[in-house]
């Protein structure tokens, strides 16, 4: 009884006192089983039968709110009684209807709604309620009820047959709110897709949805509902294209809307056409094909917009595809054939017209139609190839030939799209000879453009299965040889290299017999630099060697070729040591680049990759070690293989080989390399009769030519995928630490530091890592301490600093907890009198990608957004440090800051920059060019986007920027002039007072000694002249 009393109290409170909170309490009661919904109805009793509609509405409102919260705990019996009650209430006064709909919405979500009630509910809804005279939210309730019932009671609703569809048509007819439309479109689509009966209402149904097409909706600014035009367009399109039964109405509509002047309407129509073609076949399309083709052709020929053109071509392809899929009736004509005839007829003559105006649009249309199916492609090709071949021979100008060959290339390429049966002859066979003659004539033409397109066409032709004969291929290789070794234009040579790469993968034998020997011969010919002024265009001997080396790499696409090209490259590398011309090291680096390219080609190819590991890596190591060991005997002439750059180049090759994902091979050879370095075990090298022992870790006795080869060890062990464990890792780390802290050779200790960083980055997290790091940290701390009076300390502190820097980077990348501690140490070092500048530059190492270790290619553990995180964590510290630092150290902070700012994309920075503005303005006066440049880079986007904030500082900006226009560094002058140009975007009243002074000051850079600076000065000054002047 007490419970009843409380219930009554709550009900009373709600109905009379406008206390909405009571509904929630009651709902909790129902969910917890303390009371039932029917008890609430009883408690409401009188107010549901009250003669005053307002009271009745209040009662229903309470009940509906309770139900909306508690519908899932209702029993079937209750749902039944409530549903009947609510259905009856639909007839009540109109101010009650919104609450009735809410109640029905709650009941429609109940899983225990008894059978038959859904139908009754909808019938009553369609009969009693005039949906479009309701408020938006109430209309939304109606759609939700329908949608809920369709989800769960599909069979029952289908028993209503077409009445359901008709009811819905009436309900949504005239809907205007985008939120409701999204729902209504969804329901419409479900009605069609789930095969509800449309009966006689197909046209009506199309009418009430298509009347929104094309959708033109601009969401109000700050729209809280976030509905975009795109959403509405897609959802309407899915209704209109859902069934072929709409075809007879939709296609005329699309043709009509294509005539519109609004570009978005055209695009929408074309996209809708493309979509509906997926379901349409000949039956639906046939009647409208001529009109559709007419509209598409007009759009492609006349439009200025690439978007419309692209959509038009896509629609044409879709039409052609759908016709290709249509079944051919035995009696009727082939509709695809007829359609393509139509297309060909309208496009063909444009290909033959002498002014060639509509050549490309026509070619694109034909291509789109042809790319639908093999049948379409054959049909168009058989007509187009003879025509284009004839046109090529008719036109004599190379620009016209260039166009025709370009089109031919596209059509040749198209044939590859489809698999043919083995027996089928390549459809190009009939034209093969003519095509070859044509391409070869293009290759010998004097026009660079024609040669280029000829080369790429040759590549496309040669990659066709069973088309070219072996003599054709050999002839092609001869031509490529000529282009690579004799052609003056570097673009043509590059195109020839590209074509060689493509063709060699398919036709390796011709390249082995023809190209490799030719290139080898070229490399072995010593050419004297003849200064022949008569023929300045021919590439010089040195440049030719470079081309041969590049070509050897370019054609290494097939294992059989790799085995021929790599020995040539390695032999040439060995021979270089004896050379005397002075450019050997450049050549050596070039060879290494080529070898690296080969290594990249080899990835995933089992045979070549294995060959590479067995041949190239030991050979490079052997060469380097042999030189290093010899040189310690006689320090007279250090070979090129001791040069830092060459060693680094070796490293890139080794690194590429080891970063390959193939684990088994790598883990086998890596242990040999580790043994070689730790124990001097040279058995794995090709020539191992060294005159001295190789002991790079015998620090400090080991001479630098040996120790610097740590760079190669680093290249190998730091490039391995994470799942390969480096053998003897702890011992290796220990030796590396020793070397990093004792060697006096910069390249050696930097390589050692990088190697440690690379290993630590991939070291599995855990106690062991922590203890290793603790040791390292202790060493670093003691190494960095400054002891006054020790002279040799400068080098040793730099060493330790290098280690700290790389270690920090390693940990920052993997979000290790110690990263912050280490970064703080670096920030502290900014005030160090000896290491301050180096520490400032070090920040660039931290935030930029390094080329050899700790990057993606070497499988380093790099968290995404690490730069953003580094920015948010450290920029406040740097800013604070800047403000408290003494004048001498301020520039270090600014420099560190500029490196960090420069590493982030400007869009990300835009939100942060205004808060850094005063600092940036101060940085403009800093004498360091790196700081100046990066600051100008930050200010430029701000000038364009944050005009309000920038206006406040216009005086400072004008002064400082003008000062920088006479900086000694060209880049600074250019950047400051660009900022001067951007200044003109500030509000006129702010900058106009400065106009005379700026124009006068900008006269000086007009006479700058550098052309690029003058160009920016002209742009900036011109814009300042226009400020506040009539006509600008």
């Amino acid at each position: 009884m007490a419970a009843d009393m409380r219930l009554l109290g709550l009900v009373e409170e709600f109905v009379s006192g406008l206390q909405d909170g009571a509904a929630k309490d009651l709902a909790t009661g129902v969910i917890d089983g303390k009371c039932t919904a029917l008890e609430i109805v009883e408690a409401l009793g009188k107010c549901l039968t009250n003669s005053e509609p307002r009271i009745r509405s209040r009662g229903i409102q309470l009940l509906s709110q309770v139900l909306l919260l508690s519908y899932s705990s209702l029993k079937q019996r209750e749902v039944e009684a409530l549903a009947i009650f609510y259905i009856d209430r639909l007839k009540d006064h109109y101010i009650i209807t919104p609450y009735v709909l809410q109640g029905l919405k709650a009941l429609s979500m109940s899983s225990v709604l008894p059978e038959g009630l859904a139908v009754t509910m909808l019938k009553a809804l369609f009969q009693e309620v005039h949906v479009q005279s309701l408020m938006q939210s109430d209309r939304h309730s109606v759609y939700t009820i329908i949608s809920n019932l369709m989800d769960t009671r599909e069979q029952e609703l289908k028993s209503l047959a077409a009445d359901f569809t008709f009811g819905f048509i009436q309900a949504m007819d005239g809907e205007k709110d985008p939120r409701n439309l999204l729902m209504a479109f969804q329901i419409s689509r479900d009605i069609i897709v789930n095969n509800y009966e449309l009966g006689n209402f197909v046209e009506e149904f199309f009418e009430i949805t298509s009347c929104y097409f094309p959708i033109d909706f601009t969401p109000p600014p700050n729209d809280p509902h976030g509905i975009s035009q795109e959403e509405l367009v897609l959802s309407l399109r899915s209704v209109l294209t859902a069934t072929p039964r709409f075809a007879e109405f939709l296609l005329p509509l699309l043709i009509e809307k294509l005539d519109s002047d609004v570009q978005s309407a055209k695009v929408d129509s074309l996209r809708t056409l493309t979509t509906c073609c997926r379901n349409y076949r000949k039956k639906e399309l046939k009647e409208f094909l001529p009109a559709l083709w007419h509209s598409i052709r007009r759009e492609v020929f006349q439009t200025a917009s690439e978007k419309v053109e692209a959509e038009g071509l896509a629609a044409l392809q879709a039409l052609s595809t759908s016709l290709s899929k249509s079944v051919i009736d035995s009696d009727a004509e082939d509709s695809l054939d007829a359609f393509l005839n139509n297309v060909l007829q309208d496009c063909k003559h444009h290909l033959c017209e002498p002014d060639m105006k509509l050549v490309w649009p026509s070619a694109k249309l034909l291509q789109a139609a042809a790319s639908a199916s093999y049948r379409a492609c054959s049909k168009i090709n058989s007509c187009i190839f003879p025509l284009l071949l004839e046109q090529f021979n008719k036109h004599k100008q190379s620009s016209q030939r260039w166009t025709i060959l370009g089109i031919l290339k596209i059509f040749i390429k198209l044939i590859q799209k489809w698999d043919r049966d083995e027996e089928d002859e390549n459809p190009l066979c009939a034209f093969k000879d003519q095509l070859c003659v044509l391409v070869f004539s293009a290759l010998t033409d004097s026009s660079v453009q024609l040669q280029m397109v000829g080369t790429s066409t040759l590549a496309v032709l040669a990659s066709q299965q069973d088309l070219l004969s072996s003599s054709d291929i050999e002839l092609s290789v001869d031509h490529l040889n000529r282009l690579i070794l004799q052609e003056a234009d570097p673009q043509v040579c590059a195109a020839a290299l590209e074509a060689s790469t493509i063709i060699s993968a398919i036709q390796p034998s011709a390249f082995i017999t023809k190209m490799v020997p030719a290139l080898m011969q070229d490399l072995n010919t010593e050419r004297m630099e003849v200064k022949d002024d008569g023929e300045p265009l021919a590439p010089s001997g040195n440049a030719l060697h470079q081309r041969s080396i590049q070509a050897l790499a370019a054609i290494s696409t097939h294992p059989s070729i790799v085995k021929r090209t790599v020995p040539v490259l390695l032999q040439h590398l060995t021979n270089l040591q004896k050379g005397t011309s002075g450019n050997e090291s450049d050549m050596a680096i070039l060879i290494c680049q080529s070898l690296q390219l080969v290594a990249e080609h080899c990835r995933g190819a089992e045979e070549s990759s294995q060959y590479f590991h067995q041949m190239v890596v030991p050979c490079l190591l052997g060469l380097a070690i042999q030189t290093a060991v010899q040189d310690c005997a006689s320090e007279i002439r250090l070979g090129i293989l001791c040069e830092e750059q060459v060693i680094t180049a070796f490293g890139t090759v080794i690194s590429t080989a080891y970063s390959d994902g193939e684990t088994e091979r790598a883990s086998r050879t890596i242990s040999q390399i580790v043994a070689l370095y730790l124990d001097g075990d040279v058995s794995s090298l090709p020539e191992n009769n060294l005159c001295r022992k190789f002991q790079p870790f015998q620090s400090p006795d080991s001479p630098w030519p040996q120790t610097q080869l740590i760079a190669l060890l680093q290249a190998a062990v730091c490039s391995l995928p994470k799942n390969i464990i480096v053998p003897q890792q702890e011992r290796l780390l220990e030796r590396l630490m020793e070397l990093a802290c004792t060697s006096d050779h910069r390249f050696t200790y930097t390589s050692a530091a990088k190697c440690i960083a690379g290993l630590i980055n991939k070291y599995p997290a855990g106690e062991q890592l922590d203890s290793v790091l603790q040791d390292v940290l202790k060493k670093i701390d003691s190494g960095l301490e400054r002891n006054a009076g020790v002279c040799a300390q400068a080098t040793s502190r730099t060493r330790v600093f290098t280690l700290l820097l790389w270690l920090t980077k390693s940990l920052v990348l993997r979000y290790h907890s110690l990263a912050a501690t280490l970064t703080d140490k670096l920030i502290q070092l900014l005030t160090d009198p000896e290491l301050g500048t180096e520490a400032a530059d070090g920040f660039s190492v931290l935030v930029s990608d390094s080329s050899d270790v700790l990057n993606k290619a070497t499988h380093a553990d790099i968290r995404i957004m690490y730069r953003q995180r580094f920015f948010t964590e450290n920029v406040p510290k740097l800013v604070q440090g800047f403000h408290s630092a003494s004048e001498d150290n301020k520039s270090n902070y600014l420099k560190a800051l500029s490196h960090v700012l420069n590493s982030l994309p400007k869009q990300v920075l835009m939100t942060e920059l205004p808060s850094l503005l005063t600092l940036l303005l101060e940085a403009l006066s800093c004498s360091d060019q790196v700081v100046q440049l990066s600051t100008l880079g930050c200010l430029h986007p701000l000038l364009l986007d944050a005009t309000q904030t920038m206006s406040l500082h216009v005086d400072t900006l004008v002064n400082k920027l003008l000062n920088l226009t006479s900086s000694p560094a060209m880049k600074v002058r250019i950047a400051s002039l660009q900022c001067m140009h951007a200044l003109t975007k500030l509000p006129p009243h702010v900058i106009l007072p400065h106009k005379p002074r700026v124009i006068q000051a900008l006269a000086k850079p007009l006479d700058d000694k550098k052309r690029l600076v003058r160009k920016e000065a002209v742009r900036a000054r011109g814009e300042w002249f226009l400020l506040g002047s009539p006509g600008s």
């Binding site: 006269a1003 007009l1006 052309r1011 003058r1014 002209v1018 011109g1022 814009e1023 009539p1030 006509g1031 600008s1032």
Partner: protein, 159 residues
């Protein structure tokens, strides 16, 4: 050129291919100490000036061509000849003025700028040349706000 054009009507412009814009002028990146101002650089200054009547640039209309530009950096002299689209083109003075103003705004003050009509291509060649050569008349023309407005429109960067 549209030599046989009827009176009072301009032939549809003969659209020449534009010079490759991506081409970086020689020597700009190299470490040469001084890039002398050459014909190409002067041409780059004036090629994009808009025609007062067409939505096209002077280069596209072939009013200016690189071979009609002559600059001697160390002698501080620039000479540009321009070719009106038809011999009776009423805009010739205005086009000449735009070229002149553009060069005055863009070149160091040490240069003496001479802008004239390609000999034999305009009916009142001498009169126009005289006006363009007269410093005071050029200055006076730019005092006229209507003329200045048209000139500025020709010199605005196209969007």
């Amino acid at each position: 050129m549209a030599a046989g054009a009827r009176l009072g009507e301009r032939e549809p412009p003969d659209l020449r291919q534009k010079l490759g814009a991506a081409l970086s002028p020689p020597g700009s990146r190299r470490r040469r100490r001084w890039d002398t101002i050459d014909n190409r650089e002067i041409f780059d200054l004036i090629r994009s000036i808009n025609d007062p009547e067409h939505p096209l640039s002077l280069e596209e209309l072939n009013v200016v061509e690189q071979l009609r530009v002559n600059v001697v950096d160390h002698e501080n002299s620039v000479s540009v000849a321009f070719t009106p689209t038809i011999p009776h083109c009423s805009m010739a003075t205005l086009i000449g003025l735009s070229i002149k103003v553009k060069l005055l705004r863009s070149l160091p003050a040490r240069f003496k700028v001479d802008v004239h009509i390609t000999p034999g291509t305009h009916a009142s060649e001498n009169a126009v040349n005289k006006q363009l050569a007269d410093k005071e008349r050029v200055a006076a023309a730019l005092e006229n706000s209507h003329l200045l407005e048209v000139v500025n429109q020709c010199l605005s960067e196209r969007l």
